[in-house]
Symmetry: C2
């Protein structure tokens, strides 16, 4: 595959995307509004490869440019990773839509803003979508593809095909929804988790152990639906018939937004390691995510 | 360690517990009310070891007895895995409480019933608790330890110590709560997942991919709290200050018990493999869970 990709915004997520595309054989053209960030990109990309075990030879296909227009030249796909500020995004998409020929797809990594919020009114709104990764995408493969009401179906088809071609796992949403799928699931779990911690039912460590050494393992191997499909002899319909009423009762009794209190933030922060450790812990996380990805691919290959 | 453990009820969960205790060096005394189940136990235990890669030599420490009283003789810990029927549990705990000397701890694998519901009124209610595993416990280490209002703190201490000694991961709850921690978390996630599937926002496969190839991987490596601790430069307090309001909005907007509809059960069932495949898929799951447990232990050892 010799696609040309523009990566706009070269922070953590932009650099991780760069590795995703470069290791798949794409030519990657980078731009960031900050000259300091642009200067640091090559060294930072090498560091990232060190942690994840990616072959730094792929970085030979990466070039950093001094202007947005140069970076977009010849690109078939633009992966934008700007700040989550609506005014910044609107201005950036207006510029990119004016610069890029009509066949070029403009995809945002936004986790907080839906595509219509920055694409509405643009001539090329039909080729704009959100392609929301989990940070960092070079070690976590899922990408949520979320259209605006204006995004064309053929653009969604091409987005899905490209993501598969670069070995990511695209999840296609049929319509625009606040939080997409992933953060909606995370939000409800966090609300109930924080509520139980604030009530003193379980410690933050106990909460993490419950998922990390328990349910999270099944969810990682097969997802929540396939998990319940194997939790009753007759499959998922049997599960929902047997346990649906209990689960519904627990869900009705669960916490919601009110669980995100300042008090519970203090409790959890006290239980966590020093925030100064966040960079080192993040590197360790990425190393472990890369090893887990390799392990899961290996298991999958054995099954096929 | 040469503890003596009684495993009461020899279905899937009882047999998995048997392997947990036997491979840790315990003598395990089994009983099941069904003579057919008792007869099948040795062959079934061997099969389970085949799937998980456990050394079948540990099974030399396992004995099946014809009566409850014989199985309890000399046991320091009783792990009960009877049906989730309140009358059956009450009758069983009355018998066991009468038979077992006061120092013996009686622990139920119940996922649906809290300990007070079957221990209340018994002389030995102070030594009765729930030790809820995730099925199957020989390949998923978490165990929720949930007291009734009558369970003595020293019994909880001993329960936690025993579970650590047999290489499980105990999560101690401070008080009785419907669904314990794990199923409360599962319930809210399932409610929102089913709602998005029924609305047609995402397919069952897309939902599973979102967790299995996305958030589930972080949760498996570190749990939900440690995950958000690394999602903002200043750690979890910074995360909750930046994203708490968004997460609260998503949680407020989320589905609850009403999401467990017959219609969505049909949709998910149609998307899943034939329910006839459940036994084969479960074996495959357990093989993969065992491999994942080995992988995660290996990564952890490298970190220490």
């Amino acid at each position: 595959m010799t696609k040309t990709i523009a990566v706009i915004g070269c922070g953590l997520i932009g650099r991780a995307w760069t590795i995703v595309f470069a290791r798949a054989g794409c030519d990657v053209r980078l731009w960031d509004p900050s000259p300091e960030v642009r200067d640091e990109v090559p060294a930072r990309l090498s560091e990232t490869c060190d942690v994840s075990g990616d072959d730094p030879a792929a970085l030979s296909r990466v070039q950093v440019f001094g202007t947005l227009e140069e970076a977009l030249t010849g690109a078939e796909w633009v992966q934008e990773n700007g700040p989550e500020q609506i005014d910044v995004k609107r201005a950036l998409y207006a510029r990119m839509d004016a610069m890029a020929p009509p066949g070029v797809i403009l995809a945002s990594s936004s986790s907080a803003l839906v595509a219509s919020s920055f694409a509405e009114g643009l001539a090329g709104r039909g080729r704009i979508l959100v392609a929301h990764p989990v940070n960092p995408p070079h070690v976590i493969p899922v990408v949520e593809l979320c259209p605006s009401p204006d995004t064309r179906p053929d653009v969604m088809d091409k987005a899905e095909a490209l993501m598969r071609a670069v070995s990511q796992v695209p999840v296609r949403l049929t319509r625009e929804v606040d939080g997409f799928v992933l953060n909606r699931l995370q939000a409800v779990l966090l609300a109930e988790a924080l509520s139980m911690i604030e009530q003193g039912i379980v410690t933050p460590q106990g909460l993490d152990d419950t998922i990390a050494h328990g349910l999270g393992r099944r969810w990682t191997l097969m997802g929540p639906m396939a998990t319940i499909n194997l939790n009753a002899p007759g499959g998922v319909a049997d599960y929902l018939s047997r346990y649906g009423p209990t689960m519904a009762r627990l869900a009705d009794d669960a916490a919601r937004g009110e669980a995100f209190t300042a008090r519970v933030a203090e409790i959890v922060a006290e239980a966590m390691l020093d925030p100064d450790d966040v960079p080192a812990l993040s590197q360790n996380r990425d190393r472990r995510l890369a090893a887990l990805a390799t392990h899961l691919t290996h298991i999958q290959d054995k099954d096929d």
